[in-house]
Point group: C2
Chain length 474, copies 2
């Protein structure tokens, strides 16, 4: 028999129960926040036409699309984000309510070079507001980011925003042609990661990095790079201070004030909504890699885990529906990198891990009493108690160890002795855990010791278990 090796292709991974439970809990919390904001959920299929997916998002992303083949041999691919499918939906269903404010949760696929913490299938949880030009919408998205993180127990974070339109002022200021814009933005975006010295080199002559790779330069002149550095030097913990300095620097460029006013208005609205300088700052090095942004752009850093990068990013993308309709539809939104945020929260010990969903394990060590085990199990479930029935005829000690390994807090034991006395033995694992780990599986041994064990009348089982669970704090 030819055995198939059980394995996954690179960049793909399984999420075992403990991780899935943690991710699910996180998603439930964030969903609650989005619904508090009145966003509504939308589901689109994983598989889209390639021409729908392509032409947006930039070359890097286009190259990373997983191509899919159906029996009709159409040109299909797996979505690489939720934004492009949203744009398609907006174009396809003309009678959707506008403004349309939706959230979407689901995997996206990018056949990038995988690395530690970098996967080819990962979950994004997006909020977007379509059909509104006002900075009130961008403000609301940032509010949603802040409230989501705080609902997840994170207080030390920083949302950083800028605007592509202010970056465009920089292009004018430094006499950079629009065709170079995305390349220049991409280098600027690396400021925090590689520092100003390397940014300068990459903008001009290029350099060789530590691993010996040659990083090409963009060939800008020294005066151009000086002006970029001057721009990037506009840093302040005060949003209004940054706005003031932008006016000072760019004021002479025609139309500059209007572009800067976007940041000014957002900053003001954020203050009104209660999101002040301590949590939300203007950071002019934020550019975002995606080609489709054309207004405010934002990123979010966990201050105690900056190495995870931005966990919540987005921006305004008014032209994304243009490809379908030939008309501009204003839109703004953000995407939570669920898996990256979860990894960061785990690193910060902010995730309560659970190995089981059960609060009670009904052991089943005497096959003569299966009927009793089944009856008890379903009785507890009908009383709303999350109950697992052990499957198998292993000795009681092994079944207790199983509960211990899965951190199930309460175990029920019911053998011929209990049946004769019409009682059930309840074992509070929080008392017995230390001892249980030493047990060898001999029923006699734990019968003698019974750490954390007590008997209750069989007919009071559900009430007694409930009482114990509430005592333990479950």
């Amino acid at each position: 028999m030819n055995l198939v090796q059980p394995r996954l292709s690179k960049g793909l991974r399984d999420l075992l129960p403990e991780d899935t439970l943690a991710r699910q809990a996180m998603i439930d919390v964030v969903r609650g926040v989005y619904e508090l904001y009145g966003f509504v959920p939308l589901t689109t299929p994983a598989v889209e036409y390639l021409d729908v997916l392509s032409g947006s998002g930039g070359k890097e992303i286009q190259d990373s699309i997983f191509v899919v083949q159906n029996p009709e041999e159409e040109q299909l691919g797996l979505r690489f984000d939720h934004t492009v499918p949203l744009a398609r939906v907006i174009a396809q269903y003309r009678d959707l309510p506008r403004p349309f404010r939706r959230y979407t949760i689901g995997p996206v696929w990018r056949a990038d070079k995988p690395g530690p913490g970098r996967f080819r299938e990962f979950v994004q949880f997006d909020i977007d507001a379509v059909g509104v030009q006002s900075e009130m919408a961008d403000t609301e998205i940032i509010g949603g980011i802040c409230d989501s993180l705080e609902a997840l127990g994170v207080s030390r974070y920083q949302v950083r925003f800028s605007s592509r339109r202010v970056l465009n002022l920089l292009l004018t200021y430094a006499s950079i042609t629009p065709e170079r814009a995305v390349d220049v933005f991409r280098v600027i975006d690396k400021l925090e990661k590689i520092g100003i010295a390397k940014v300068r080199l990459e903008l001009t002559t290029g350099y060789t990095d530590e691993s010996g790779d040659k990083i090409a330069g963009l060939g800008l002149t020294a005066p151009q790079v000086d002006q970029i550095e001057q721009f990037l030097g506009i840093q302040s913990a005060s949003r209004s201070d940054v706005v003031k300095r932008l006016h000072d620097t760019f004021g002479s460029i025609p139309g500059a004030n209007e572009e800067i006013a976007v940041l000014e208005k957002m900053s003001h609205y954020l203050d009104v909504a209660g999101y002040h300088d301590d949590r939300v700052v203007i950071d002019l090095s934020i550019a975002r890699g995606l080609a489709y942004y054309n207004g405010p752009v934002f990123e979010t850093i966990l201050l105690d885990a900056p190495q995870f990068g931005s966990v919540f990013s987005g921006g305004r993308y008014d032209d994304l529906v243009m490809r379908f309709l030939g008309e501009r539809v204003p839109a703004t939104g953000a995407s939570m990198g669920v898996d990256r945020l979860l990894a960061a929260l785990r690193a910060l010990d902010k995730v309560k891990l659970r190995k089981s969903t059960a609060d009670v394990l009904v052991t089943t060590f005497d096959p003569q009493m299966n009927d009793d085990y089944i009856a008890m199990t379903f009785e507890l479930r009908r009383a709303g108690i999350r109950t697992e029935m052990y499957f198998g005829t292993d000795r009681a000690g092994k079944q207790i160890k199983f509960a211990d390994k899965l951190e199930i807090p309460v175990v029920l034991l019911y053998g011929p002795d209990e049946k004769a006395k019409n009682v059930v033995t309840i074992k509070d694992m929080s008392v017995g855990r230390a001892r249980a780990q030493q047990l060898t599986g001999s029923r006699d041994q734990w019968l003698q010791e019974r750490p954390g064990q007590f008997e209750v009348p069989r007919q009071n089982l559900a009430a007694s278990v409930k009482e114990l669970l509430s005592k333990i704090g479950i």
Copy 2:
């Protein structure tokens, strides 16, 4: 500019907010039941190696795999169910707790011929118990099916089960060679759909159906088909009656009693757990199409919507891990067809549809007062009230219509008059709805009429809204 047509490939679809909300509510309910049973969630990627996917599930399914290409040009495909990935996980992670009881929710892909209510990407919600041979596990799966449906408000349903092992007795009884087994089972499985006369024809000479298609026959002899018909004639509303008649029919076949005992034991355990003949029956025509089943198999019909077919199906598949490990790992489980069940429940009017997640809409008709709108909105959200802020500067009437269309129950109005009086106008849409639908959008008109409207002090806003929502029953 070349416009891209916004569209989806056939068999794929979007789920707009109303449908996604309904699906999500259903999933939350069922997840609650599965966790009550102590099942734990597992997540596997959508993309698997083709050799992992293939060799199981039968030819029909193999042919329907969506093939995927990554940059390394490996042989990959989208999963067609959650059972094969579970088998891979069991084989790949040898230190998973056993028994392993997991649930999984997510889309699966089958490039079938699409039809009404038949999609190529659809959501399955599975429970499986791995590592246990006992009928207690099969019983628990059926309990989970019943409890899920009842938690969803469905009482008129019927779980029907049989066993592949009893069907194997039929093969012996009717002298059918094992190689024909799957073909014969597939025809038997159609009994309810096509009736006994056509089943007979398909087992023997074949026939031409209404649309003129030739259905090939399997070439069995008349005595063989008589024996199959005799078997299929064993029908009773009483499980124990079916078991008795099976003993009568097959008793002379060596080992038959042991095979029949599987149904007998399940029936007994189901009674102990509280699932009696009124909800769970033995139906010997149940065979299931998938090749990997080798023990009990089950299906679930909604008695008031049988046309939707089985909404919850499964069975025992002890050999599925064999392909990876060369060893048998007992396993049983069921899969809820989420989209099919949702369609059936909608047809039965058992789904509460919501178009919005917001309970309150803050209208924003005066741009001079944006700060006030933002402040009110975030104040309400911080009080836990699900609040949408209208995006846009449309007239108040249009904004009220928007709330009406989305069935948002409460609308807030705040203009210069309210500001001068330091009040907010609250509009109870349940009162004003009928009238609001006639409004033309003139602010004067609704200001005069104000159906369901009343003023509250600005500083009491959150408390007043809460009071109204609780009055309305939200």
